[in-house]
């Protein structure tokens, strides 16, 4: 059960009375997470995996404990499948680089119209370098990913499916199991961008049958600057590291080196130790409620968000027409008012929403809008926040349409 009122008491940033509806961008941080990171900085701020003294051992233990917490959170088989990165963007870039190692000119990768720029641009960089082709799954009339087009779009040499789990711009949930089954049938590797799904629903990388899974701590109550790249263990030996440096080596000579075993092989340099500890604290906090409960709460609150917005005739939600597969996010436009003006007036009413293209310009182009206003939910939001949104949107409309 999610008791949003007791969760709210644990979030210092909510004390100022803001209705925070921008969690798809980043979530607020519970005191528990802040305390866990402060404890590192105040009590044992030593480097990990190096010192033999007490403080360093303690830091290493806390860092590796976080790895196990995240391992259980996504139900990975082994802790070494959990690679800490700076966030989803770095994770997706790394996964793309790793997959590109075995790709050749003329090979292709399958993406969708719903991808965040961080799952498009890395592939464009690789395309420029290696002559790899980018293919896109289109969108159905209902506004969702067109699974049926899969076999038509792919080519004999399509090697990778790289797909978002939940669209950050629309909240539409991808038909992941169908997509993965099709990719597997064609022997493709699968990369999933879980930046929006991992905070909202139980993730089981084994059941999803993916090779790579990326997410960010800061979108699930954790700190910025830390994220996860899950890499299936079977791939560890065949993948070369994409970042070299300290910690990731076994032996270094002047002209060649050998690699440490994973996870060290894929984590060069001193990591974001406090961030990783905060990530662990965040997933442990979420685990105390259970991700099924988190999912149920956000699903229920999302319905309230969609029905409330649809009760205003001058508001139009973009994306799926049914909202059946839409989760936690509403991207909308208001008749006659630019999204930035909507967001600015909402800010004056002490509501935080996002306005812009949400790092999804191809999708904006498809929708035929330069930008949208986006409201997104998390476990500390209440129906009162949605009522306040409605009231404030009515005010925006009246300001722009008076006389």
């Amino acid at each position: 059960m999610i008791d949003s009122h007791s969760i709210r008491k644990n979030i210092p940033a909510l004390a100022n009375g803001v209705a925070y509806l921008d969690s798809a961008s980043t979530t607020l941080k519970p005191q528990t997470v802040i305390d866990a990171m402060n404890a590192y900085y105040q009590e044992f701020p030593a480097n990990v995996h190096r010192g033999v003294y007490h403080m360093s051992e303690r830091a290493t233990a806390a860092y590796e404990h976080a790895r196990e917490q995240v391992q259980h959170f996504v139900n990975a088989r082994f802790p070494e499948e959990i690679i800490f990165t700076s966030g989803t963007t770095e994770s997706l870039n790394m996964a793309a680089r790793m997959c590109a190692q075995s790709m050749r000119k003329g090979d292709s990768v399958l993406l969708t119209y719903f991808e965040h720029h961080s799952n498009i641009v890395p592939w464009q960089l690789i395309a420029q370098e290696k002559g790899v082709e980018l293919l896109y799954l289109p969108v159905t009339e209902n506004g969702e990913i067109d699974v049926e087009a899969f076999d038509r779009i792919i080519k004999p040499n399509t090697k990778i499916l790289a797909v978002t789990h939940i669209s950050n711009a629309s909240g539409i949930v991808s038909p992941l199991s169908q997509l993965v089954a099709k990719a597997r049938a064609h022997g493709m590797r699968v990369i999933v961008d879980g930046a929006q799904s991992a905070p909202h629903m139980p993730i089981d990388v084994q059941a999803l049958d993916v090779d790579f899974f990326a997410c960010s701590a800061h979108k699930m109550l954790g700190p910025t600057g830390v994220g996860l790249l899950y890499i299936r263990k079977e791939l560890h030996d065949s993948i070369e590291p994409v970042v070299g440096g300290g910690s990731m080596i076994r032996e270094v000579s002047l002209h060649s080196s050998t690699w440490a075993d994973a996870p060290a092989k894929f984590e060069a340099g001193t990591p974001n130790i406090a961030g990783v500890i905060g990530f662990g604290a965040a997933v442990s906090y979420l685990h105390s409620f259970g991700m099924d409960a988190v999912n149920a709460y956000i699903t229920q609150l999302s319905k309230k968000l969609y029905t409330t917005l649809e009760s205003l005739p001058y508001i139009h939600i973009l994306g799926s027409s049914s909202h059946e597969h839409q989760h936690g996010i509403a991207s909308f436009i208001m008749d006659g008012v630019h999204p930035h003006d909507v967001a600015t007036i909402l800010d004056q009413e002490h509501l935080a929403v996002r306005a812009g293209h949400h790092c999804a310009q191809p999708l904006m182009k498809l929708w035929g809008v330069p930008a949208t206003t986006r409201a997104s939910l998390y476990i500390y939001n209440t129906t009162e926040d949605i009522e306040r949104l409605k009231y404030a949107l009515e005010k925006v409309y009246s300001i722009f349409h008076r006389n």
């Binding site: 930035h340 003006d341 600015t344 306005a355």
Partner: protein, 117 residues
Amino acid sequence: MYQEEILEHYRHPHHHGKLEHATKIQAEHNPLCGDKLTFYLEIKNNVVVDVSFEGEGCAISQAAASMLTDEIIGKPITEIQQLQKEHVLNMLGIELGPTRLKCALLSLQGITRALNS
């Protein structure tokens, strides 16, 4: 922030549309919100004799474009080139955070760039 004067410029922007006899055309893009404005200037003897702009945008960027185009008609290029961002903010008469500042200054940037090209 959304005073009647700004809303009036937004609803009925001055000098909106294409300019047939433009001698300089400059497109300006705000990547934060996706807004695109195009500025048309007709310059004779180093004086801006006519100006217009095209494109959709938020109330702040539309009002700034509307007011700024009003302001520069008939002025010599050298005078317009010296306009600073404070001038635009005074003209709008509002305070803006760093993100919305870009909306307000899009026009000045476009017009200055056109004159310098």
